[in-house]
């Protein structure tokens, strides 16, 4: 029975089911209270968690997002049921941490991870197009490194307890989300009262949706970065059929729920600074490719015991702190007295993207095995 299910989840129908489920559930979460065109965003939600823990001081983006907790614990559950939970470690964890930091800086310049880029497009935000092109270009550069022997090396089996660190961290976050203890005045644990951080679906619903997606994604290996990488590298369209399903089902759900608004201007939590949308996601895409997975995939892997992916996740959370504390994140467009003010990023943000790209290139050029 488990073998049959495994073969189904490994099939094209399995990945389409997962992508379609994410599309429908993300759009539904938006209706239930999550921010517009941000039904699910792994980067934004990890950023919100960083804020709730006091790792940055951007008041409008602080909330312990139960979806993230659900992704990890759903993957843990799936891995346990199908006997795939396996603690592993030791594949250049510090490099993965750095890649996580840089990936978050790039994603927050664009204002979203690949999942949100797809969901923004499905909601009619055409600014997502330059972001997605940037993502593909970044991944294409990463593929060239892979072809020339880039690798972070083998991981090794380790103590089962190591594999439980990230799932247990998520259990701790869930307790903090439920009880919201106040450790310091105006510090952790603190939730936004205005802005995107204040907008959220009921905790239990977010958690259950996260668990379902985590379970499905662990079984099917859903990965947005991998979908583009596999097409470029091998002409393999397996994973991208799931990504296509995500867009189609999210678009359909948005149309049904009246959440579709096409255009470039004043899209929710987005800016129309096209060059930086492109470059921010190019940086993120390259970092994902070098680390072997998009932010969602890194969460699912960390749920099944891969502590190297856990280090990437921690890098992203720290990266969110750096991004907001140093003013690197993109500022959304806004309408003031009927006049459109284009957002975009600060000079420091531009420097950060440039430096991030250079660091990724150095990693790609210097970490190669020759056969």
């Amino acid at each position: 029975m488990l073998d049959k299910l495994t073969r189904f989840f490994a099939s094209r129908w399995g990945i389409v089911l997962t992508g379609g489920s994410i599309g429908v559930l993300a759009s539904a979460l938006q209706r239930l209270g999550n921010p517009p065109n941000m039904g699910i965003c792994v980067a934004c939600f990890e950023r919100d968690i960083a804020g709730a823990l006091g790792l940055h001081r951007a008041e409008v983006v602080r909330y312990i997002r139960p979806e993230i907790i659900g992704f990890v614990l759903g993957a843990t559950l799936a891995a346990l049921v199908f006997h795939e939970f396996k603690a592993r470690a030791g594949s250049a964890p510090l490099v993965r941490f750095v890649l996580g930091v840089l990936a978050m800086i790039g994603a927050l310049v664009f204002l979203g991870c690949p999942w949100r880029a797809l969901l923004r497009l499905s909601g009619g935000d055409l600014n997502a197009i330059t972001g997605l092109v940037g993502l593909a270009v970044g991944i294409a550069v990463g593929v060239q490194f892979l072809k020339s022997g880039y690798t972070l090396g083998r991981s090794h089996k380790t103590y089962p307890a190591v594999g439980w660190i990230i799932p247990l961290l998520m259990v701790g976050l869930l307790l903090l989300a439920v009880f919201q203890p106040q450790f310091t005045e105006d510090g952790a644990i603190v939730f936004s009262t205005t802005g995107p951080g204040s907008m959220h679906a009921p905790l239990l619903i977010s958690l259950v949706v996260g668990l379902v997606i985590g379970f499905l994604a662990q079984r099917t290996r859903f990965c947005t970065m991998g979908s583009i990488r596999d097409v470029i590298l091998m002409g393999d369209t397996h994973l991208i059929s799931g990504v296509g399903a995500l867009v189609v089902f999210a678009l359909g759900t948005n149309l049904v729920l009246g959440q579709f608004k096409i255009g470039f201007a004043t899209q929710p939590v987005a800016h129309s600074s096209h060059l930086w949308n492109f470059l921010g996601m190019a940086l993120a895409g390259l970092a994902f490719a070098l680390a072997g997975g998009c932010p969602g995939r890194q969460l699912f892997l960390s749920g099944e015991g891969d502590s190297d992916s856990g280090v990437f996740v921690l890098g992203m959370i720290v990266g969110a702190g750096i991004s907001h504390n140093f003013g690197l994140a993109g500022k959304p467009d806004s309408l003031v007295d009927g006049a459109l003010t284009v957002g975009g990023i600060s000079a420091a943000g531009m420097w950060a993207v440039g430096i991030g790209l250079v660091i990724c290139l150095l990693i790609g050029f210097t970490m190669r095995e020759r056969s």
């Binding site: 795939e84 396996k86 690798t151 991981s155 590298l233 091998m234």
Partner: protein, 70 residues
């Protein structure tokens, strides 16, 4: 004499790339060793896309051997 590709510990797509590099050498059978179900399924799918026959064996705890033949 089999060609052995030891991809244990590498994460995808590296096991698939190592398998494809061995396939291009044209010597069969190829034995690919992996240690996650993800790698097993990815190598299996990629090999089937190349028109190869794939046989999977479990070896030890959580390790798999894929035997690929033309």
């Amino acid at each position: 004499m089999s060609v052995i590709v030891d991809a244990r510990g590498y994460s995808c797509p590296e096991p698939v790339m190592q398998m494809r590099a061995a396939e291009q050498q044209g010597k069969f059978p190829i034995e690919v060793l992996v240690e996650t179900v993800t790698s097993r399924e990815n190598v299996r799918r990629a090999a089937e896309m190349l028109g190869l026959k794939v046989k999977v064996e479990s070896i030890g705890e959580d390790e798999y051997k894929l035997i690929l033949e033309r």
